[in-house]
Amino acid sequence: APAMNCRAEVLEVSVEGRQVEEAMLAVLHTVLLHRSTGKFHYKKEGTYSIGTVGTQDVDCDFIDFAYVRVSSEELDRALRKAVGEFKDALRSSGSDGMGQISLEFYQKKKSRWPFSDECIPWELWTIKVNVVNLANEQERQICREKVGEKLCEKIINIVEVMNRHEYLPKMPTQSEVDNVFDTSLKDVQPYLYKISYQITDSLGTSVTTTMRRLIKDTLAL
């Protein structure tokens, strides 16, 4: 089967430790706002109705910033869990506080037994995080504002990408809906997604960077 092009976007932020969670949530929620629909209700004759997506404002505690998220406690909980794990991993890794969290949208392609289903990504958002340490309240205050400004830019970047109206999975039939959408939530229906993260090791190189270098070196011979 021909490989599907996966759209990849990378965002970078430098934040203070206590801002990591809010900054990540702001970006992830903004992406998912655009990548969630109302619940589909299939009726006879192949018609379907779409539920309504509510939205709400979220104010950040540690950043001078506010964002809009989908009104879904389940979705919020899922994101908070992932971001919490990422934050803990960042903290305990002993690295210089660098890592990245990825949000990948994928489609499932059913394969015949004995092969397992394929997950084909069609959009990948990567947020690179650099955690800074600040010395005093003065710097923290400046950081609040600066990170707020940066996040405003990120939101504009995200919206720009969304507006390109590039590839989106086709609207599925009832039998295919679980290959395209996450239908497990009761109030909204995001596209199938998964969140992963990696922490840059203390040598300052991430795994992927190392691999790339090896390959480059190999090819150079």
Binding site: G51, G54, T55, C60, D64, F65, N136, Q138, E149
Partner: protein, 544 residues
């Protein structure tokens, strides 16, 4: 399988994707738009325009918006999004559109402006819904266009929170209100001042043209626009009049004649009126907070005195009793004045820290809308530093209360200067520059021990180099101390405690020096104490 919305005027049917009826082809093979598609498209564009206005205006009300998701379509949610319809806003939008739709050369614009309590107004943003000639004949109206319009509304929800006016609108209340005006026709950007920036929200191609949604926003708040009224004296009466007029009619006149206060009060009570505050030479802080929405969004607490506690009427109201806002209201206009909530001087750690810090940026309160804001200023640090209304307050405050101030109280305050948007003026105020209280020396060695206890090294400066707007020098009063003029509360103490000066004994030079001195004087001190040993013993006895 291809789906098509059933031909019906009922909005709920847009949630249903039905197979085609009447033997029609499932989708248009030719490039001409079928009449049904045309009808649908016009409907989509009309309701998209109305929803766009709702999103923008609601985002400038100054409150957090929250709508619920619903797994079953309710039948009234266009574009599958829960966006409430404020009736007055829909009414005004429909009036502006007058049955027309955005088309080439005919754009729908929502202008967001700011109006101070003194009658000055300034355009902040223009949101433009435009149509250009680039057509996408192949696109499916009832499906793709609809979904993309939905996506565009989501983008609008996101973008309305990241332009500078959002933060300003969250802080509206005493000093200013945010207004909107809808007009249809040519986009007018001249009121935004120099160097305005634009952000594109998105585009959606349709068979009749491409819909574009964008925002042009002012970045230079220091540039004043012309005053609304003819002169100071006339400003207030005219504002009152126009507000009354505009509750019933809304035209495409410039905002000075036609203002529409966007506050929660507008929807629940008669519109609030900006009244006598202008007559108060002190900036009318105690002015009716009716102008703000449900919560007391503006707090003069940046003076370093407690949080939103309005317990300092002497300072703020210049004689007027802040606890009784009714006095400030014209007859028959008060309608639904919410009582000033008493805001205890507690807060999260974050709040406390914000209060200690430079006042450049606009700060969000993490708490619910019922809590107070502490150190907000009107300027937006991201878009250009300029003065904050707190500068004026600080000025006034210092002159009234500061123990070390040697300038007379009736020194000119910015409020008296006849500059529009005095409170937004850049901080190049000579008064402040020369005032040691406002520009404390940077080194920890200060003239007096009390002064030194108020600021830590480098804390008086901010990243922008505006050193005189960051900290307010106030008398240091021990926690819980009583003071008639200025009761110090726990919050203030805590904030000061957050910025302790460097321990002088930790600095090498002074430390060593004083250490040496201490050591030298020790034998003398010991001798004295030994002499008084009997007294000490007696004292200890009394404690037993």
């Amino acid at each position: 399988m291809k789906f098509r919305a059933s031909p019906d005027n009922c909005r709920s049917d847009l949630n249903w994707w039905n197979p085609p009826s009447c033997g029609k082809l499932p989708y248009a093979m030719d490039t001409d738009l079928s009449s049904q598609d045309r009808k649908d498209l016009d409907k989509f564009i009309k309701f998209f325009a109305l929803k766009t206005v709702q999103v923008i205006v609601q985002a400038r009300l100054g409150e957090k918006i929250c709508t619920r998701s619903s797994s079953s379509p309710t039948g009234s949610d266009w574009f599958n999004l829960a966006i409430k319809d404020i009736p007055e806003v829909t009414h005004e939008a429909k009036k502006a559109l007058s049955g027309q739709l955005p088309a080439v050369g005919r754009s729908m614009c929502v202008e967001i402006s700011l109006k101070t309590s003194e009658g000055d107004s300034m355009e902040l943003e223009i949101w433009c819904l435009e149509m250009n000639e680039k057509c996408d004949k192949e696109i499916k109206v009832s499906y793709t266009v609809y979904n993309r319009l939905s996506l565009l509304l989501k983008s609008l929800l996101a973008i309305t929170r990241v332009t500078p006016a959002y933060r300003l609108s969250r802080k509206q209340g005493h000093e200013y209100v945010i207004l909107y005006r809808i007009y249809f026709g040519e986009v007018q950007l001249s009121g935004l001042g120099e160097g305005f920036q634009t952000v594109r929200v998105g585009t959606v191609g349709t068979p009749v043209g491409t819909i574009t949604l964008s925002c042009a926003y002012r970045i230079n708040l220091a540039f004043m626009s012309t005053r609304a009224g003819e002169d100071n004296g006339a400003a207030y009466p005219s504002v009152e009049d126009s507000q009354e007029v505009c509750t019933t009619s809304f035209s495409t006149s410039p905002p000075s004649q036609c203002v529409f206060t966007v506050t929660k009060a507008h929807f629940q009570t008669p519109p609030p009126v900006v009244t006598d505050t202008l007559k108060v030479p002190v900036m009318g802080l105690a002015v009716s907070h009716q102008l703000s929405s449900s919560r007391l969004s503006y707090q003069p607490a940046a003076l370093g005195v407690g949080s939103a506690d309005m317990g300092y009427p002497v300072l703020f109201a210049g004689g007027l009793n802040a606890a009784h806002p009714h006095q400030l209201i014209g007859p028959g206009k008060e309608g639904g004045v919410p009582p000033i909530p008493s805001q205890p001087a507690h807060g999260t750690q974050a709040d406390q820290e914000r209060m200690c810090t430079p006042l450049d940026g606009v700060h969000y309160s993490a708490a619910t809308p019922s809590s107070s804001e502490d150190t907000e200023t009107v300027s937006n640090s991201s878009e250009g530093k300029c003065g904050s209304p707190h500068d004026l307050l600080e000025t006034i405050f210092i002159r009234k209360v500061g123990a070390f101030v040697n300038k007379p109280i009736n020194q000119v305050t910015m409020a008296n200067l006849d500059i529009p948007f005095a409170m937004f003026a850049p901080k190049n105020i000579e008064l402040e520059d020369n005032d040691p209280m406002v520009n404390p020396p940077d080194s920890p060695e200060t003239e007096s021990p009390l002064q030194g206890s108020l600021h830590s090294e480098g804390s008086s400066g901010s990243s922008t180099g505006n050193t005189h707007d960051d900290f307010v020098m106030i008398d240091f009063k021990p926690a819980f101390s009583k003071d008639d003029i200025l009761p110090m509360d726990l919050g203030t103490f805590y904030r000061e405690f957050q910025n302790p000066p460097q321990l002088s004994s930790l600095s090498i030079d002074i430390g060593a020096q004083s250490m040496a001195e201490d050591l030298d004087s020790l034998p003398e001190k010991l001798a004295v104490h030994e002499k008084n040993v009997k007294e000490f013993d007696a004292f200890v006895e009394t404690l037993q």
